[in-house]
Symmetry: C2
Subunit: 688 residues, 2 copies
């Protein structure tokens, strides 16, 4: 039978290699120019080319079988990968960016991840010089592995509600870490469950208040949350230290290889030096609380995390559309029912159906939109941290909150839309979507829940509106304020979005201004309760984020190096597709705000369909240019060579461990079933 199976080819109309070759032949789009336009400055592609072969030849980084593993085996694989990656840093002298690219390609949540990000960042930002001398070097060299233990079972986003306490004992000059409730258990802490031997623990600092009599128990006063660096496991046995309870919280939607953990303290004593004291400290002599600086740095780290997520999101979307575009350019389904003789026609390539285009192509355009905005956010963040003015920090904080929410929401929806656009095979792990999508689905919740943090963008906008209303023309300097001011001067402009790209940008700003002043009216003028306005504020934040995406997309095409006409023309079509698609989804708001006329809004679906038909010709080249390697895609459907069916079959027939086992399907004879199944188990353990 092996000869028979090996001799089989795909049927001629299912020849994916030929299909993609023909797609690439048809498009005259300059793929290399586009790749350079996207990544040229960053040197990212050269780095990827250098790191990729190193990663691919490591047996631990082969991805084929990982979906078959048990959760404990999956964690163990993740830990081994984390270690091997760190070994490669030593062996090859990789810098931080090399490591980042390798980590991206290996594409697994690694038990070292939070150590390398949050634990190190916390030490760098909040540890005093003496504390850095003690911990930073060993931590940077991974001689100790730390977790960042903030979130608790009962409290996530609201840090003020944290229940873990650190009580100062002046008699021994120690802090007593304690978890008074089960809900005080640290929870979700990445790398804590099985890996870390240290932790940065966020706890309420309690200082005793002097009472009249020395014999009565002291009363404690909270001074808010502070960070304590604590050794949590024995460095030899790796068992939790006495007084500390630790474990892994169990399986999740994604993150199988990550040991998100829990931790409880039973009156666990740590020395005075445990409390990170760059920003504030307890005077060991007097027991007084001393504040050293403001919290701008801590605030900046959340903004940084959101900026970082926005930036990473474009590659997530690009990866999804790379797979979906290639596969739907190969898959055929049903002959055209208007053909003269449908039975003699080849079936239609599914990407030619407008109902497939409307799901995949706007997401292709969105990948570009998010890419440009990721870059713009990164620049904004850099300028704001250099500048460090309150205005700049408020801008980057508000904008990054809105954009993190909107971009991750858009992307999470886009992944699932692309997966479903691939029909049945999209449900298979061979699509490359299963772990990828499940891991990404953490993003709408982490670093501030998407429906909560939009308040921060809206609050920023309302404040701006208040300022603009009270300001003279000369006092208005930033572009957001100018945009709000120009709205006040001309409330019914009805932009001509069908023929003018800049009018599209203006229409998005106009609608945002309209919604901003509407929210201002409710909150500031009518003084309505904040919580009753939350839905409206969420919509406002999304409108603002959309305006940012549209503006940054437009700017990227109208500044910097000129693009050759075929590339420029097609990127402008992508700009229009993205903008008008979003406008169509929110059509009523554009009409209500007098940004666009009812007639123009009604014409959007036809315009969008025409744009998609034009872009569809170049779809394969437009995804190729992102240069996402097959190794990362880990997808039979999205392979660059188009050999979809050959590889689907190969994975099932030659790489599926379940096929090494024979089972007894008969239900009726309990004893025999049992005996045979045991035999089967033994057979299996030898084979797997």
């Amino acid at each position: 039978m092996a000869d028979f199976v090996n001799s089989l080819l795909p049927s001629p109309l299912c020849d994916g290699a030929a299909a993609l070759a023909s797609e690439r032949g048809r498009s005259k789009l300059p793929e290399e120019e586009l790749a350079c336009h996207l990544f040229g400055e960053s040197g990212r592609l050269e780095r990827q080319e250098r790191v990729l072969p190193v990663v691919m030849r490591e047996p631990l980084f082969v991805k084929g079988n990982q979906m078959n593993l048990s959760r404990p085996d999956r964690y163990q694989l993740g830990l081994r990968r984390a270690k091997r990656l760190r070994q490669l840093v030593d062996e090859l002298g990789w810098d931080e960016e090399d490591y980042g690219v390798a980590r991206y390609l290996v594409d697994d949540m690694l038990p070292y991840d939070l150590h390398l990000s949050m634990f190190l960042t916390t030490l760098r930002q909040q540890a005093s010089d003496e504390q850095q001398a003690q911990w930073l070097r060993p931590a940077e060299q991974c001689r100790i592995i730390g977790a960042y233990a903030q979130t608790e079972l009962g409290h996530g986003s609201n840090v003020q509600g944290i229940e873990t306490v650190a009580m100062w004992d002046p008699s021994t000059r120690e802090f007593i870490l304690h978890s008074p409730y089960v809900t005080a258990s640290k929870w979700w802490i990445g790398g804590l469950g099985r890996t870390a031997n240290h932790a940065a623990v966020v706890a309420q600092l309690l200082l005793p208040r002097l009472t009249g009599s020395p014999t009565t128990k002291p009363k404690y006063v909270s001074h808010g949350c502070h960070v304590f660096v604590v050794q949590i496991r024995d460095l030899q046995t790796h068992r939790p230290l006495k007084g500390i309870v630790i474990g892994d919280i169990g399986p999740k939607l994604g993150y199988a290889s990550m040991d998100n953990g829990y931790m409880l303290f039973d009156h666990y004593r740590v020395p005075h030096s445990a409390m990170l004291s760059r920003l504030s400290r307890v005077n060991p002599e007097t027991g007084d609380y001393e504040k050293a600086a403001n919290n701008a740095l801590v605030y900046g780290s959340l903004t940084y995390a959101r900026t970082h997520i926005i930036r990473g999101t474009s590659l997530v979307l690009a990866r999804a559309v790379t797979i979906a575009v290639r596969y739907t350019a190969i898959r055929r389904q049903f002959p055209d029912r208007d053909a003269i003789d449908p039975r003699s026609e080849p079936e239609v390539v599914v990407l030619d159906y407008p109902t497939v285009q409307i799901r995949v192509l706007p997401m292709l355009a969105a990948a570009f939109a998010v890419h440009y905005t990721g870059k713009a956010m990164h620049d904004l963040y850099s300028r704001a941290t250099n500048d460090a003015s309150n205005a700049a920090l408020a801008n980057v904080h508000g904008t990054s909150s809105g954009l993190k929410s909107y971009c991750t929401e858009l992307t999470a929806g886009g992944l699932e839309t692309c997966r479903r656009a691939m029909g049945g095979h999209g449900f298979s792990a061979d699509s490359g979507f299963v772990q990828f999508e499940n891991d990404f689905l953490s993003k709408p919740t982490v670093e501030g829940d998407n429906w909560m943090i939009t308040q921060q963008a809206s609050a920023y906008l309302i404040k701006k509106a208040t300022n603009v209303l009270g300001a003279s023309n000369e006092q208005i300097q930033d572009s957001l304020s100018r945009s709000l001011k120009s709205f006040l001067l001309n409330k019914t402009p009805l932009f001509e979005v069908n023929h003018d790209d800049h009018a599209i940008v203006a229409a998005f700003h106009h609608r945002t201004s309209f919604l901003t002043f509407q929210a201002h009216e409710q909150r500031v003028v009518k003084k309505r309760r904040w919580n009753t306005l939350l839905i409206q504020l969420h919509k406002l934040s999304n409108a603002y984020s959309q305006a940012m995406l549209v503006e940054n997309f437009y700017s990227a095409l109208h500044s910097g190096n000129a693009l050759t006409p075929p590339l420029g023309d097609n990127l402008r079509k992508l700009f229009r597709l993205f903008s008008l698609y979003i406008m169509d989804q929110n059509a009523l708001e554009f009409v209500t705000s007098s940004a666009v006329s009812f007639e123009q809004v009604s014409a959007l679906p036809d315009t969008i369909q025409s744009l998609m038909a034009e872009i569809r010709v170049h779809a394969v080249t437009l995804v190729d240019a992102w240069k996402i390697p097959d190794y990362l895609l880990n997808s039979c459907l999205g392979r660059h060579d188009g050999k979809v069916y050959e590889h689907l079959f190969d994975r099932a027939h030659r790489q599926n461990p379940l096929n090494g086992v024979t089972f007894n399907p008969n239900y009726w004879d309990h004893e025999i079933v049992k005996a045979q199944e045991e035999e089967v188990c033994q057979e299996r353990s030898g084979k797997l």
Copy 2:
């Protein structure tokens, strides 16, 4: 430490049991009357009460650890469960509905599922009496296990494109089953991969055409797809028979316990009796193709499957909202920023935030909407199959296609929306959403892809429009035609949806009629190509499905047994919430079609928010009444007793196998790492 851990309670403000008790105390809604209103006639709740304890005491049906298993172990557990469930049928004399409830409670894709549904149905509908005598009895008794092998690697929905052939050899009176291409491999076939020993194979029937000379090879002519029942594995060794290649296709997004399989034939010979011959046959003497009857039955089976999916979907939504409502009624986050002293206030219960309500409560209302429509579809299906008129069959076919698409899309989105509304803990497998949601995500694609089958609803509507345009008033008899006719008579009615429930129903019908005649204009009058209209046709189908949901919801509250006022009032609020929420999402279409005025549509968000505030008070009772047992929910977050945090901690601390293993986190000394990890592996295999 055990004493310390055991002594811990949730902090007073995280006391879920108290929170739910207070919710239940506040609502005066009669839970039992509502349960009876939902399920009274069906006897479903009594059956559930009888079957649940039986299922719960079976060790194989304990669900706690299943998320930790490897894929092979997960399949093996599924097979054992399938067998045990079938043993219980014998032991307890369960009827089909008892089995159905038990299968629903065990809540796992079982390797016997497709045997018990598609394989048996195929035999019943398409096997001749002699063939039924041979196979039906052993199949019903599970003495043989069959798979239904239709879909192929290269072809799904378009059955005409199937590549597997069955060539008639007149000399031996056998069919030769053959897979000419790798894309001809049967694929996705449930229960085939490791379980089945028989299969109903769909193949192109090829009959030789007589050529002039007896020495030349015969040419074959296809007579379309037919079904062949074939033994595929040895009944003793369970190995595939010679000439047949079989295996499991590998991991998927969901369905871990199901062995979706592939199968190839290498000139495999089966006797004449293999071809199911109730509907058509090959005359064994002459080799002629003989058609016995029409295909209405086969057509009916697809419609039945879609009707069945629609009906099951309401319990899926209800399960999701049960978990989300209970948990968000317990979880608190942030004090009210407008409180006089926010720091001294308890944090707000998250279900009190409109931004949580707008995600969860419309889905609660949708569960009711889908429930009533599922019942109505079931009745429509029963009447149509009794009636068997072409008009009735076309109606049930068109309507079930549109509703299957819309309801599964709504539900798939609703599950993810509910999951995310629960914030961080929604990402944990302890939410009860992970397997549940991943398994359900097959539904938008199976039994006709959701974006493809909407064409069938739209084609039905366009045909109706054509008929209505040419018909006199007397010729118009069914309600859809009446609704289309009344639109023609009054195109600008602008219904008053704010004060009149029946006007809401009329507005939905009016919009559907508007879109129907618009599509009719494009396709029938202007003769535009079908494929260019697909997006418009998809929207039309959705509008029609929404109108059905709204109408059936309205009818269910205005017919049958009268509801007591508190129940009736609140169900009418749910009706309005569902309808107006859908209207708001599609506002522009309602305005464009003159169904509702711009002013009324603009007021919808405020109306929806007020409705939600009224329904929120009864939310917990409204989900309790669905009587979804904790055993099915398998969720720490959604438990009836509200003990969320106690059980989250218990699962992690006492039931997570990963916590039985100690790993070496150090990367630097390869040899030691290796030695220690092996030790760890041994330790583990003893523990797990």
